[in-house]
């Protein structure tokens, strides 16, 4: 059906000799598969194209219809050639002059953007190959180096290379998962010792990692926080070596004092295990602050105490009930019954994506009491209470501003 239309079209444009040539070539391409018939048709039209009367057109149409009939008769199995990009491109190439300039440039643009020239360029593949080789070499070297012990560790066991490797995971949790908002970073000293004291929560204590991440990411000097962890952890495989590798150490007074004397930032959770095992109904109510060991550490070293409140972490697990019986029977640490554990299996141990706030309060100086203040039990208990009250107040302040658990 297209054929008669086309020939008519060609006929009307035949006044211009150049266009005639083009039209001829077009037809030639279109009839690619049946050359002889195409040429015949063109030959019929071209000689008497000076003036066209409707009769001629009618005659031509009839002739073309006849041609179509003949075509059908000679090759009954004829089907149009299948679609292929090359064909389409050739078709467009040959017809592009017929389009308006804007339209043709648009088509060219579309074609250009659909074909990425870089992929055709052999240099791209060479470059990719080099990069891949380099990467494999680097990773192989790293593995070899790690196996032969050629990496740095400090006397506490901190492995900076390992820390760099795992940081993206904690960055994700910090930025995307809990969307932690940290305020008061200026209260953390640029250098020198300081004792960070925070509330503790969550069945799995993520709050320590997030405070560490906050100071590492947002502090001017990107300082490393040395957390003091519970004495339940050293006998657990993997966790114990992980904690040591990221620069944490066991919560003992002598460890804390030694770290503070080395001008480090030390993070303590005086609530300890009582904070982690808090029930949901007791959230944001600070538990007893240990026996004041952290105050003695600060007094002995003259390190300022920096109170920190973490809001949002206490809702990551909804703890309903403790199960000391199971722990006693199996001897393994069994997480307490929560809204999701053990009903949903391991999924119940995934923390909820609440919105977190870490507020760092103004430092409480203790160096005016001197190291002998550590022997004064009254002073120690007074300071312990003071720090506890400051943190509790900071938590309440944040809770009054907060609109939603999940969106802040």
């Amino acid at each position: 059906m297209n054929n008669p239309d086309h020939s008519v079209n060609a006929g009307t444009q035949d006044q211009d000799p150049e266009e005639t040539m083009d039209a001829g070539s077009n037809v030639e391409i279109e009839f690619d598969t049946d050359d002889s018939i195409g040429r015949e048709g063109v030959a019929n039209v071209n000689p008497d194209s000076q003036e066209i009367d409707p009769e001629d057109i009618q005659r031509l149409v009839n002739e073309l219809d006849g041609l179509v009939e003949r075509l059908k008769a000679t090759s009954p199995g004829y089907t149009p050639p299948p679609y292929s990009p090359q064909r389409l491109i050739r078709l467009l190439e040959s017809n592009i002059d017929r389009f308006s300039p804007e339209f043709s440039s648009r088509i060219l643009e579309i074609l250009r953007s659909s074909i990425n020239e870089d992929l055709i360029d052999p240099d791209t593949w060479k470059g990719t190959w080099y990069m891949l080789n380099y990467y494999l070499d680097y990773q192989g070297d790293k593995l070899k180096r790690r196996l032969s012990g050629e990496y740095e560790t400090d006397e506490w066991g901190l492995d900076p290379e390992f820390l760099d490797t795992i940081r993206p995971i904690f960055d994700f949790l910090y930025k995307k998962y809990w969307r932690v908002a940290t305020t008061g970073m200026e209260n953390v000293p640029e250098e020198g010792r300081a004792l960070l004291v925070s509330n503790h929560s969550g069945q799995i204590p993520w709050d320590g990692t997030m405070i560490g991440n906050a100071v590492l990411n947002e502090h001017i000097n990107a300082r490393l926080v040395r957390g003091l962890y519970s004495n339940k952890f050293p006998s657990l495989p993997f966790l114990s070596s992980f904690l040591v590798k990221v620069g944490q150490t066991l919560a003992l007074e002598e460890n804390g004092i030694r770290l503070l004397e080395q001008e480090e930032l030390v993070l303590v959770f005086p609530e300890g295990m009582k904070g982690i095992s808090k029930l949901f109904k007791d959230r944001y109510q600070l538990a007893r602050f240990g026996r004041g060991g952290f105050v003695r550490m600060a007094l002995k070293t003259g390190a300022p105490i920096i109170p920190i409140s973490v809001v949002g972490a206490e809702e990551t697990y909804i703890t309903l009930r403790h199960t000391p019986a199971i722990t006693k029977l199996t001897g393994l640490p069994f997480p307490p019954i929560s809204l999701r554990w053990p009903w949903f299996g391991p999924l119940g141990l995934v923390p909820l994506p609440t919105k977190w706030y870490i507020d760092i309060g103004a430092p409480i100086p203790v160096d005016q009491y001197g190291p002998e203040g550590a022997q004064n039990l009254i002073l120690v208990s007074q300071l312990t209470n003071q720090v506890r009250n400051v943190i509790q107040k900071m938590i309440y302040e944040r809770l009054t501003i907060r609109q939603s658990i999940f969106f802040g």
């Binding site: 032969s148 012990g149 506490w156």
Partner: protein, 373 residues
Amino acid sequence: MVKEKVILVTGVANEWGGRLAAELLARSRMRMADATAVSEHDGANPYHVIGVDVEPLEEDIEGLDFIQVDIRNPSLPELLKSENVDTVCHLNFKHSYHRSEQAFDFNVLGTMKVLGACNDAGVKKVVMKSSTSVYGAHPGNPAFLTEKHPLRGSKNYGYTRDLVEIASFCSGYCSQPTEMLLTILRFPNIIGTTVDTPMVRYLSKRPVPVLLGFDPMMQIVHESDVIESLVIAVENERPGIFNVAAEGALPLRRIIGLAGRIPVPIFHPFAYIASDVVSTARLPIDRAAPIEWDYLRYPWVADVTNMRTEMHFEPKYTAEETLREFKRHQKLSRYDDDRSTVTGDEDYLREIIKLRSELKVRELNSREDAQYE
């Protein structure tokens, strides 16, 4: 006439006693030579070293006055008195992995007898070698154990148990008013190319067993630093208990890596069961598992601040250097044992030639001085 300082070293047939005696004698000779050269007889302090051991010496030590006797001999005070012994260096301990009454008798009662005899005979100073394993490996250990930390060493490992007994006995002894100076040096795992210690045996295994998921911090010390610190304790007055270790504690896997070995992790409950089986069946544990698993699971790193500030001793080798040397040696010994000893001998001979020529020059000088006088 120069007054000789008489030093009695027990356990000269074992490697530490023998090496200490040899080192003291070598220094004595050097000082004598120095003193004769500059005619400063007061400053010189040559040693008369008496060696004591139950077992005969495997190799003769030049200049050593060897007496083959058990330290538990009741006449030990008389020997000390008659020889006018100034300093006793007690290094005679029996190494046993299992609890053994015989070893306990020898180690603990032997030490008691030696200390008692020294006190009776008016010996001025006693130096003893101990181990930081007496603190024990526990999950609640601080990252750095000071000398005052309670001793909670393993009760299963025979040698450690004996050392804990000795240490508690000695601390009782120290609290009594006495004129005798007692120095106890506590060493962590000793590593060296010429010694055979539990840690060397452990690192010579291939592959080296470790506990899955545990990588405790560990301390080591070089063999020559052990001898050096003992010599310092003998030559100077440094009473007290000191932890002596190389600079820097390293994670266990790094130690194994630096020693050129590959760690093979074992799930810890299985490891404990296996070692229980070994200890109940009294299998030769030194080949199966050289150290108690707790010592590969929890940290037992000692604080060496007092070693620097009070004992004024600075180890020559850091932990990394010690391990690199160990690795080099292990690699060489794998290929050709003889050649490495030959090159070692060559260096040794060169050293001797140098020393002897120096001595000759000095002797000549002193003779000339004497002639002019």
